[in-house]
C-alpha cells in the first residue's frame, strides 16, 4: 500500500487505545504521532536506511560518456552465469545513467526465456520529471542481446526500467530445477516487514518508558507500537509481494494474498477513508459530553456506504459503453517509483 494509507492505518489503530484519546484531550499528541510513525516505519527502514547498506555482487554501471547497451546485457548475463555456476544467490544493481544536472539516459532490461536471452534497449533521454527530451528517442535503435545460462523466472510484472535517481536491485535465486527466481528489490520487505520486529521494537521502547515513567505508559507504548507496526505488515500481505512475517523465525517472504497492488487507487483511498471514519468513531466514543448521538452503523452508512454507492453509480453512468483501461500496477514497482517520485 502507499505510505499514506499505512500512516493513516497506524493512526487509526492508535485511536483504539482509550489512553491515546485521554492523552490527546489533555494536550498530549504522542500516541497518535507514534501510531502514524510506526504505521509507515517498515518502509522508512527499508527505503531510508537499509538499502544504502545492502551489498551487491554485480554493479552494472554504464559509462555516461559512452552509454553502451551491450555492456548492460553482458553484465546481466555474467550475473546470471555467476548464480548458476556458483549455485548461490546473486544480487545485481542496475545503476542509473546520469547525463547532466537534469538529464538521465533511460534503459530497460527484458528477459526472453524462450531464446534464453537478455534484451537491453536504450530509450530516450529523460529529465528528472521523467519526460523524454524531444529528438532523443531513437539515438540507440539497436536492442543489445546476450545469452543467458538459465531461465530467469519473474513471477510478477515489475518493469525493469531504469531512469531517474536510483536504479533497482534484483536478486537471482537458484531454484531446484536449475532456473533462477528473480526477486525485485530484495532488500525490501525483508526483516523490516515482520510482526516479530514490531513487537521487539515495542518492547524496547516500552522498557525505556518503564524506566522513565513507570509501568502504565510502558505497556501503553508497547501496545501502540506493536499494533501500529503490525498493521503495516498485515496490509502489505494483501498485495502480491508479501513480507517476511515472522523474521527472524522465518527467513523468506511469504507471498501475499494477491487481492490488490500496492499502488491501486481504490483500495488505497478506501483504506484512508475507512481509517478516517474509525478515528472519528473512536474520538466520538471518547468525547465526554456529546449533545449529538449516533451509532456505528449510522456512521458507516452516512460516511461510507451511501457515498460509495453514489460514487459507484456515477462511475457506472459515466463509463457506460466505454472500455475503461486502468494502468496495471505491481507492488514492488509501485513502491519503487513512489519512493523516487515523492517530492
Amino acid at each position: 500500500m502507499k505510505g499514506f494509507s499505512h500512516f493513516m492505518s497506524g493512526v487509526a489503530v492508535a485511536s483504539f487505545g482509550p489512553w491515546a484519546i485521554d492523552a490527546a484531550l489533555n494536550g498530549n499528541p504522542l500516541f497518535f504521532v507514534l501510531g502514524g510513525a510506526c504505521g509507515i516505519l517498515p518502509d522508512t527502514l527499508d527505503f531510508k536506511f537499509y538499502r544504502f547498506f545492502y551489498e551487491h555482487d554485480v554493479y552494472v554501471t554504464p559509462d555516461p560518456k559512452n552509454p553502451d547497451p551491450q555492456y548492460v546485457a553482458d553484465e546481466y548475463a555474467r550475473a546470471v552465469a555467476l548464480a548458476v555456476d556458483e549455485k548461490r544467490y546473486v544480487r545485481v544493481k542496475l545503476v542509473s545513467i546520469r547525463l547532466g544536472a537534469d538529464f538521465w539516459q533511460q534503459y530497460s532490461v527484458k528477459i526472453d526465456n524462450e531464446k534464453l536471452e537478455v534484451l537491453v534497449k536504450f530509450g530516450p533521454v529523460v529529465n528528472t520529471g521523467q519526460v523524454p527530451v524531444e529528438g532523443t528517442e531513437n539515438r540507440y535503435p539497436t536492442v543489445a542481446r546476450a545469452k543467458l545460462k538459465a531461465k530467469v523466472i519473474q513471477t510478477y510484472d515489475a518493469g525493469m526500467k531504469v531512469d531517474i535517481f536510483d536504479g533497482p536491485t534484483i536478486g537471482l535465486k537458484p531454484m531446484e530445477n536449475g532456473d533462477l527466481d528473480l526477486e525485485f528489490l530484495p532488500w525490501h520487505r525483508e526483516w523490516s516487514h515482520s510482526l516479530t520486529i514490531g513487537a521487539m521494537l515495542g518492547a524496547l521502547v516500552g522498557a525505556g518508558v518503564w524506566l522513565a515513567a513507570g509501568w502504565t505508559p510502558a505497556w501503553q507504548s508497547f501496545v501502540t507500537i506493536a499494533a501500529c507496526y503490525g498493521v503495516h505488515v498485515v496490509e502489505d500481505q494483501l498485495g502480491h509481494m508479501g513480507s517476511n512475517i515472522f523474521y527472524p523465525i522465518t527467513k523468506l517472504r511469504t507471498p501475499g494474498l494477491h487481492w490488490m497492488h500496492s499502488g491501486d487507487g481504490l483500495p488505497n483511498f478506501l483504506t484512508v477513508w475507512i481509517c478516517c471514519l474509525l478515528i472519528f468513531w473512536n474520538l466520538y466514543r471518547g468525547q465526554p459530553a456529546m449533545t449529538y448521538h449516533f451509532g456505528f452503523v449510522h456512521l458507516m452508512m452516512v460516511g461510507l456506504v451511501i457515498p460509495g454507492l453514489v460514487f459507484g453509480a456515477l462511475r457506472w453512468l459515466l463509463n457506460r459503453g466505454q472500455k475503461v483501461v486502468v494502468a496495471k500496477g505491481d507492488d514492488a514497482d509501485d513502491e519503487w517509483n513512489d519512493s523516487k517520485a515523492a517530492g
Binding site: G3, F4, S5, F7, A24, L25, G27, N28, P29, F32, V33, G36, A37, I40, T44, F47, K48, F52, F53, Y54, E55, H56, Y59, V95, S96, R98, A101, N127, G129, V131, F165, D166, G263, D264, G265, N268, F269, V272, W273, F280, L283, Q287, M290, Y292, F294, V302, F311, L314, R315, L317, L318, N319, Q322, V324, A327, G329, D334, K340, A342, G343
Partner: protein, 444 residues
C-alpha cells in the same frame, strides 16, 4: 437597484478583479481583501458605508476567482503561491511539452468540478453534519497538526545515494536531502515563531505579516531558479480538446475533495498540505487526474474554508478570507448561506470563462519574451508588491525567507517543508508549549 442586481454586479466585479489580479505573480488576493476591509471599516457610520449585500458577494467572488486563476502564474510563470505548489512540476512538464494551455485548463476544470461538489453536494449536507463533527473533533485539532507534520517529514524519500558501494558514504549522500528538508522545516518554524510572536511588520498592516515570508519561501526561489536555469519554453499549442471525460473528473473530485476538505476544515492545514494529501491519499497513476485533483483541492481549500463561516449552526472561521470578513460581519442564518452559495456558483462559472482568454494572453506574453526575462519581470512585480504592502521590513523578511526557501531548491528536498513557518509554531501553541519555546527564544 434591487438586491438581485446588486449581488450579481458585486460578485461579477469581485470575480473579474481577482481573476485579473491572480495573473500577477506574488500578489495574494488576501492582501487586496485586507486593504478593502480597512477601507470598508473606515467608511462605516458615514453616508458612504458599504452594505453587506455588496461586499459579501464581492469578497466571495474574489476568493473564487483567485482560487481558480492563480494556476496561471503557478504553471506558466513558475511563481506559485503555497496552495498551488503541487501544480508547478506537472504544470511545467506540460509547459515544456508545448501544452501549457492544457495544463492550466485541466486545473480550471478541476476548480469548476470542485465548485459543483461544494455547492451541490457539500453545501446541503454541511449544516446537518459539520456541527456534529465539530463537536467530536474540537479537542483534537492539535494532534491532527502533529500527525500531519510527522507524515510530511517521514514521507520524504532520499534522492541521493544512488551509486557506489554500500556503506556510510552512500547513506550520508542520500541523507543530505533529508537533512536539508528537516533544516528547512525547523528554520521556517523559527521564522514563524518570530513573525507570529513579535512581528517587525508595522502594526497597521499586521494582518499581512506572514505575506512577505510566504513570498520569500515559495515564489521568489522559483523565480530565481527559472532565471538561472530556465530552458527556452517551446512554442505553445492551443489544444482543441483536453482529453478528459466524466470519469477523470469524478476521480479528480474524489482525490482533490479529500485533500482540500481536510485543508479547509482543520486550522493551519494549508492548501499545499491539502494538495499533498490529495496526491498521496488516492494513489492515482493518471497525471491528468493528479493535476485536476490539485485544481479541486485548491478550490475547496480556499472557497470551502470561506464557506464554512456561513454554515448555519457551525460557527467556524477558517482561512484568511473568512477571518477578514469576520471583522466586518457576523453571518446570520440561512439567508447569508444561500447568498454565499449562489455567489460561489456564479463566480465559479465566470472565472472559468475568464481562464481561457487570460491563459492565452499570458502564453502570448511568454512566447514574445525570453522566459528568463519573464521570470525577472515576475520577480520585479513580486518585490514591488511586498514593498508596497509591508515596506522595507517586509523586503527584509522576504529576503530571510528566500534564504530558507532556497534550501530545498539547492538540495533537492521537498519545498513543502517551508510550511514549518505556520505548522510548527501553531502546533506548539495548540499543544500548550508554544510559550515555553518563545521563552527559550527570548521572544516573550
Amino acid at each position: 437597484m434591487s438586491a438581485f442586481w446588486m449581488v450579481l454586479l458585486s460578485v461579477t466585479a469581485g470575480t473579474v478583479i481577482s481573476s485579473v489580479l491572480a495573473c500577477l505573480p506574488g500578489l495574494h488576493i488576501y492582501n487586496v481583501m485586507g486593504a478593502l476591509v480597512l477601507g470598508i471599516l473606515a467608511l462605516e457610520g458615514t453616508a458612504h458605508a458599504v452594505p453587506a449585500d455588496v461586499y459579501l458577494p464581492a469578497f466571495t467572488g474574489m476568493v473564487v476567482g483567485w482560487s481558480m486563476l492563480n494556476t496561471i502564474p503557478a504553471v506558466l510563470l513558475g511563481t506559485p503561491d503555497e496552495s498551488a505548489m503541487f501544480t508547478v512540476l506537472p504544470g511545467q512538464k506540460y509547459l515544456m511539452a508545448g501544452r501549457g494551455f492544457e495544463g492550466t485548463m485541466i486545473t480550471a476544470v478541476g476548480g469548476l468540478a470542485g465548485a459543483f461538489f461544494l455547492v451541490c453536494v457539500m453545501a446541503p449536507l454541511a449544516p446537518r453534519y459539520l456541527p456534529v463533527s465539530q463537536q467530536v473533533l474540537k479537542g483534537h485539532m492539535h494532534w491532527v497538526l502533529w500527525v500531519i507534520i510527522t507524515f510530511m517529514l517521514m514521507s520524504e524519500w532520499p534522492k541521493g545515494g544512488n551509486r557506489g558501494p554500500a556503506g556510510w558514504a552512500k547513506f550520508y549522500d542520500a541523507w543530505k536531502t533529508l537533512l536539508a528538508g528537516l533544516a528547512t522545516f525547523v528554520l521556517a518554524g523559527l521564522l514563524g515563531f518570530i513573525l507570529l510572536t513579535r512581528s517587525p511588520v508595522n502594526h497597521e498592516v499586521a494582518f499581512q505579516n506572514i505575506m512577505p515570508a510566504f513570498v520569500g519561501l515559495f515564489a521568489i526561489p522559483w523565480c530565481l531558479l527559472n532565471m538561472i536555469s530556465a530552458a527556452g519554453v517551446p512554442p505553445q499549442r492551443i489544444a482543441k480538446s483536453l482529453e478528459i471525460n466524466g470519469d477523470v473528473i469524478l476521480r479528480s473530485v474524489w482525490s482533490g475533495g479529500l485533500g482540500g476538505g481536510i485543508a479547509a476544515y482543520f486550522p493551519v492545514v494549508t492548501g499545499g498540505v491539502g494538495g499533498m494529501l490529495a496526491g498521496h491519499a488516492t494513489a492515482q497513476r493518471d497525471e491528468r487526474i493528479f493535476i485536476m485533483g490539485q485544481g479541486v483541492s485548491k478550490f475547496i481549500y480556499y472557497v470551502g474554508a470561506f464557506m464554512l463561516m456561513f454554515v448555519p449552526g457551525l460557527n467556524l472561521t477558517r482561512g484568511g478570507g473568512a477571518w477578514m470578513v469576520k471583522a466586518l460581519y457576523t453571518p446570520m442564518g440561512v439567508a447569508d448561506y444561500y447568498l454565499v452559495l449562489g455567489s460561489i456558483a456564479i463566480a465559479a462559472g465566470l472565472s472559468y470563462l475568464m481562464m481561457e482568454p487570460l491563459t492565452k494572453l499570458t502564453l502570448k506574453f511568454i512566447d514574445r519574451f525570453n522566459y528568463r526575462h519573464v521570470s525577472t519581470f515576475a520577480l520585479g512585480i513580486i518585490l514591488i508588491m511586498v514593498y508596497a504592502v509591508t515596506g522595507w521590513v517586509g523586503l527584509f523578511i522576504a529576503t530571510v525567507a528566500t534564504g530558507i526557501g532556497l534550501l530545498p531548491v539547492l538540495f533537492g528536498s521537498r519545498r513543502l517543508n517551508c510550511l514549518g513557518i505556520l505548522l510548527l509554531p501553531i502546533a506548539c501553541n495548540m499543544s500548550g508549549f508554544g510559550e515555553t519555546i518563545t521563552g527559550w527564544l527570548g521572544l516573550t
